[in-house]
């Protein structure tokens, strides 16, 4: 049994706004009326958003507002209870290789007996298929990905020997190795110092430049103002979504966070 690669879009049903069907670009990621979560627990409802190739969308909102839940629903980790999520007109959950999800650092066990190279190579597992071991080409790709995040030559070290920021870079390298069309980042800058942060920004820019659709959940509003093309404000439901210029406004932030955030005039500086 092997996992077949995504079929070459047989049932593509592009709407008029989706762009030329054969342009080779992945086409936009569209959420329509998405609700996600667990039947008995937290739920996020009524999410509509569109993200095109190269867009970097920042998900902001208070703790428990549903940033992670939305990302996990897009990654297929949290069940979608309603609505549709499509990429280039096809249901996203039918394109399992298309998404790379970078979890929060504390979600994995850093004591696991693995080196940085081992972890990055995990990004190639799906492409190698069942039973088969990663090929030489996969290994080379993993090594290149580590170089791209500035950790070339350190692949043989155990993952616990790296600082928090460097561990985040290992995750970024794994995402590079996955060659995704959609990149999902959950609080990528929490506990990451400015030097490591710069490397991560650089990688995100290169992903966006290559036409990857980037969505990132973050606490850091300055981060969003400075680096995201689009903003999605969440508080159990969608408060606002749109280009940063028009959406990152005092009124929207206030509506998202209630009175709990110091509001500064004019939004993005």
């Amino acid at each position: 049994m092997t996992i077949s690669p995504p079929r070459s879009r047989p049932a593509l049903r592009p709407g008029p706004e989706l762009g030329a069907p054969d342009s080779g670009l992945p086409g936009p990621l569209i959420c329509e009326g998405v609700s996600a979560g667990y039947r008995t627990g937290f739920r996020l409802a009524g999410i509509d958003l569109v993200a095109g190739p190269g867009d970097v969308t920042g998900l902001i909102g208070p703790n428990g507002g549903g940033k992670s839940t939305l990302l996990k629903a897009l990654a297929g980790v949290v069940p979608t209870l309603g609505g549709t999520i499509t990429l280039g007109g096809r249901p996203l959950n039918r394109l399992p290789g298309a998404v790379a999800y970078v979890p929060q650092r504390e979600e994995v066990n850093w004591d696991f007996p693995a080196t940085a190279h081992d972890v990055v190579l995990m990004g190639r597992f799906r492409a190698s298929g069942w039973w088969r071991r990663p090929t030489k080409a996969d290994r080379a790709l993993a090594a290149r990905a580590l170089e791209e995040v500035g950790l070339g030559g350190l692949g043989g070290r155990h993952i616990s020997a790296f600082s928090g920021g460097q561990q985040q870079r290992i995750f970024f390298a794994r995402a590079i190795a996955q060659e995704p069309r959609v990149l999902l980042l959950d609080e990528p800058f929490t506990g990451v110092d400015s030097e490591n942060r710069e490397v991560c920004h650089d990688v995100i820019r290169r992903f966006a430049g290559a036409g990857v659709i980037v969505l990132m959940a973050t606490h850091d509003l300055d981060e969003v103002a400075a680096n995201c093309t689009h903003v999605c404000c969440l508080n159990q439901r969608l408060i606002a979504f749109g280009p940063t210029k028009t959406t990152y406004t005092a009124a929207n932030l206030k509506a998202t966070f209630g009175g709990r955030v110091a509001v500064f005039e004019g939004g993005a500086a």
Binding site: I3, Y38, T40, G41, K72, A75, G76, V77, P96, G97, V99, A100, Y101, P103, E107, V108, N109, F112, P113, A114, T115, D118, V119, M122, G123, F125, R126, S128, W130, W131, R132, R133, P134, L154, R157, H158, A161, F162, S163, Q166, R174, Q178
Partner: protein, 299 residues
């Protein structure tokens, strides 16, 4: 000295015991790595106890104990996997409920069987010296099947163990892989029951991998060390029990525990001694060169 090593080989039962111990050592050593890495020790213990009624039923039906043990082991593995998906009961409690219930069922069944009582000891504590040629073949065949399945899915098991979120988002059937791993653990425990019994089997599945983890930071190396230490403990334990006339199962487990303690103290990077030395050198270092105390960090 040489005599002491050769002497046990004069007996067929010792030859069979040594062969059985070697197969079980490799099996438990390898599969046990994932028991340790996934924190499945409690589930392992639960499996070992939950197969008890299966063993009693097979005995009553005059069949090989393997069949009943397999049936109940698989049932428990499935039950645990399913219960861990619901959020109504905590996983620990769920496992506790299942295995205590099954073990109790075994106790009740056995209380109706007068003839079983004298074999109870060998079931609970193992009877490696009573292994027959047929037992040996069955162990070898099942062990081979378990290892083939395990190594075929090693990449997938590793992914699920380290980062289940990545596995799910990549489209892997994580729940199915979970069930298969539990079934492999269950099969490992069932075929090893005869050697060390219900109570002590956990030691063979947990102790060698725990020692091996202290000796290396690489998974393949850990599995090799773990298998090696388990076989070593088995063989050394058998020799000691032969010469000192002690219970084989218990002796094997104590030797394994000894290996673990040695690793705990003397392992090159994770051992107590080297950690202490490293900490001292780190302090020394930090004092002189790194006022921020970042001596251990990669730059």
């Amino acid at each position: 000295m040489i005599d002491a090593l050769i002497d046990p080989w004069r007996y067929d039962f010792m030859q069979r015991a040594l062969a059985e111990m070697t197969i079980i050592g490799v099996l438990c050593g390898v599969i046990g790595c994932f028991v340790v890495l996934r924190g499945l020790a409690f589930i392992g213990d639960a499996l070992a106890h939950a197969v008890f009624p299966g063993v009693v039923l097979s005995y009553m039906a005059d069949r090989s104990i393997l069949w009943g043990a397999f049936a109940f082991g698989s049932l428990t593995a499935l039950g645990v996997a399913l219960l861990s998906r619901t959020r109504r009961v905590s996983e620990d409690s769920a496992i506790g409920v299942i295995f205590a219930a099954f073990f109790a069922l075994g106790v009740v069944l056995i209380s109706r069987e007068a003839g079983f009582k004298k074999d109870l000891g060998s079931l609970l504590f193992g009877n490696i010296l009573g292994v027959s040629q047929a037992d040996l073949v069955v162990t070898a065949v099942i062990g081979a099947v378990v290892l083939v399945v395990f190594f075929s899915l090693l990449k997938e098991f590793t992914l699920v163990a380290f980062d289940p979120t990545l596995a799910t988002s990549s489209g892997y059937p994580v729940f199915l892989l979970e069930v298969v791993l539990l079934l492999l653990v269950s099969a490992t425990i069932v075929v090893s029951l005869q050697a060390v019994g219900n109570i002590l089997i956990l030691a063979l599945v947990v102790t060698p991998p725990a020692a091996a983890r202290l000796l290396t930071d690489r998974l393949p190396v850990m599995m090799a060390w773990s298998a090696g230490l388990a076989v070593l403990s088995g063989v050394v334990g058998l020799y000691v029990s032969y010469h000192a006339d002690t219970a084989a199962g218990g002796t094997v487990v104590l030797v394994a525990t000894g290996c673990f303690l040695v690793a705990l103290v003397a392992a090159p990077n994770h051992g107590l001694v080297s950690s202490y030395l490293l900490a001292r050198r780190g302090q020394h270092h930090a004092h002189h060169h790194h006022p921020m105390g970042e001596a251990g960090e990669v730059h």
